[in-house]
């Protein structure tokens, strides 16, 4: 650490100017807009309504349903991804021929454009074209995500699991290989079985990486838009209209800028709270584990 504060700000200033224009100003502007009634189609123009937009938001069944669907999606998806990812990572942590190949295959979905993933999943799930509905039909299961809300929900879950479980696996694998070897050796010498070693040695040591991955996955699934929009367009009905989709569609279709702004503010507020809670958790867990 060296150098004066002023010169440091000098190096930071170009970034602050650009982020000020595309990040901070929009943030302030959306706060300001959220206090107005403002619909492009309305003749009234901008009308100051104070916190009425937020009051309306809290009593808006459509928004609440989108929010709860979004949160349900977060819980189910993250639950499946973390459990499955951890199990597969433990299984693959042994050395075997072809591990490098598998690693490459698993990295592939991580780099793909979400919208292209959505269109890939359309191709495989659409009735009359897709193999999934054809083969399920052979088994006597009618599968059509444009008809069944439940199937649509679980298809979006499976798509996200397909997309991001490889990330969880690779991250856990990296974490597993960087663990110190001595505690595991000691456990084996003491006669601990594989499950006991995992439960009492590996898992406690993995906690920092576990909370970090949970944090990343929660935030990512909460703001999901591209893939789900491409696959289901939020349908059938509103079955997969998660909170980002609800917001964007409402703004684009109805041009409700003031009300939409209050919704944006609410989402940003939720994001900040979740980040704050989870980052504090990460710091605390890290301190506990590394202090031991």
């Amino acid at each position: 650490m060296h150098g004066t504060e002023l010169k440091g700000w000098g190096f930071l200033s170009p970034t602050l100017v650009v982020l000020g224009f595309v990040g901070i100003f929009p943030f302030v502007y959306v706060l300001y807009l959220s206090l107005f009634y403002y619909n492009i189609f309305s003749l009234r123009g901008m009308v100051y309504v104070g916190i009425n937009n937020f009051r309306k938001l809290m009593n808006d069944p459509k928004f609440m349903s989108a929010l709860s669907k979004g949160l349900l999606f977060v819980m189910v998806t993250c639950g499946v991804e973390i459990t499955l990812g951890l199990a597969i990572a433990l299984l693959l942590s042994k050395k075997f021929v072809g591990r490098g190949v598998l690693r490459t295959i698993m990295t592939l979905p991580l780099a793909m454009a979400p919208v292209a993933i959505g269109s890939m999943w359309i191709v495989i799930t659409r009735p009359a074209v897709g193999p999934v509905s054809y083969w399920l039909g052979k088994l006597g299961i009618s599968y059509d995500i444009s008809e069944s809300a439940l199937q649509a929900f679980f298809t979006t879950v499976i798509m996200d699991v397909w997309h991001w479980t490889p990330f969880v696996i690779l991250a856990f694998l990296a974490g597993l290989t960087s663990l110190p070897r001595e505690p595991m050796e000691a456990a084996r010498v003491d006669g601990a079985g594989p499950w006991q070693t995992f439960r009492h040695v590996i898992f406690p040591l993995m906690r920092p990486i576990l909370v970090t991955i949970v944090f990343i996955r929660i935030m990512d699934t909460f703001r999901i838009y591209d893939e789900v929009w491409a696959l289901t367009s939020g349908g059938p009905g509103t079955a997969t209209k998660y909170v980002s989709i609800h917001l964007v569609r409402m703004v684009l279709a109805r041009q409700e800028y003031g009300y939409g702004a209050s919704m944006s503010v609410f989402l940003l507020y939720l994001t900040i709270v979740m980040c704050w809670v989870l980052l504090n958790l990460i710091t605390r867990v890290k301190r506990e584990v590394y202090a031991e």
């Binding site: 000098g10 299984l91 490459t104 269109s119 191709v123 991955i213 980002s244």
Partner: protein, 279 residues
């Protein structure tokens, strides 16, 4: 011995299962991109039977998709260049200068990265269409998209580079200061050369994020700066999907990802986890 073999068999079953599960949608899309429209509506055939060039040539040569590819290329490369030019000095400042409220800046950076893009749509739409500042019209321009992707990519790049610059010993800088080198000189002659590989990785990841983004591109561009991801979406929303062409466009959209996985495979997981996970 018996136990070991059983374990290996189990691992290979999981291996094959994983590989098939990951590759199946991709394989099927590739398959559809080589099939005629009529053949698709018959019983699904799980292997490639022929190659319909029109699925690729029509959208990219006669339709507008060639232009979309070019737009994506300009925007992604422009954004990567701009983000690096801004993020390198910023990360250097945050690592090596006493700046009050550094923790708050970091919290702000990470929140910025995690914020739902949808919540920026309204203000950005209004700024871009010129209804906030008269005279600024960024709607449907390459420059506008290059700037807008800074919202998420700039904090990300600073975060990633900060971890890498922190790993460079401060003694190097201090020796240079004693020799009468200016801070800009230190950045240019010491930090950038030492951190070159990390800078390259950051550039690759940012380029990929810009290439893959769809929401902002679909709202803030119209005809002149439409990106390839908007192009993929156009097939979906139009009535009567042309499956072969949609699959072909998706495959082309995924080519850079495949190349980058080949080049920077190890760094993708590290990058996506903000450097928290190192392989």
């Amino acid at each position: 011995m018996q136990n070991r073999r059983a374990k290996l068999i189990f691992i290979y079953i999981a291996f094959i299962g994983m590989a098939v599960a990951v590759l199946f949608p991709l394989y099927w899309t590739l398959l559809v991109s080589t099939t005629t429209k009529i053949a698709l509506f018959e019983k699904p055939i799980p292997y490639i039977t022929g190659f319909v060039v029109e699925n690729y040539s029509r959208p990219f040569l006669t339709d507008l998709y060639g232009g979309y590819l070019l737009n994506s290329l300009i925007i992604a490369s422009g954004n990567a260049a701009l983000v690096l030019a801004l993020a390198i000095p910023a990360a250097y400042a945050l690592c090596r200068f006493k700046i009050r409220g550094r923790e708050h800046i970091f919290f702000w950076l990470i929140t910025n990265r995690m914020a739902p893009p949808a919540s920026f749509i309204i203000p950005l739409y209004m700024i871009f269409s010129g209804s906030v500042f008269r005279g600024i019209r960024l709607m449907d321009t390459h420059l506008g998209m290059i700037l807008v992707y800074c919202i998420f990519n700039l904090p990300f790049a600073i975060w990633l580079l900060k971890g890498m610059i922190d790993a460079i010993p401060v003694e190097l800088d201090e020796a240079a200061v004693v020799d009468g080198c200016s801070y800009l000189g230190i950045l240019w002659k010491i930090i950038i050369p030492v951190a070159k590989p990390s800078i390259a990785v950051t550039a690759v990841l940012i380029w990929l994020f810009s290439w893959n983004e769809m929401l902002f591109a679909s709202v803030l561009t119209g005809t002149r700066a439409n990106t390839i991801t908007c192009g993929v979406l156009k097939f979906v929303t139009v009535v009567g999907i042309d499956w072969g062409e949609m699959a072909a466009v998706s495959i082309v959209c995924l080519i850079p990802a495949a190349i980058l996985v080949g080049v920077a495979q190890k760094h993708i997981v590290a990058g996506l986890s903000f450097g928290a996970v190192k392989e």
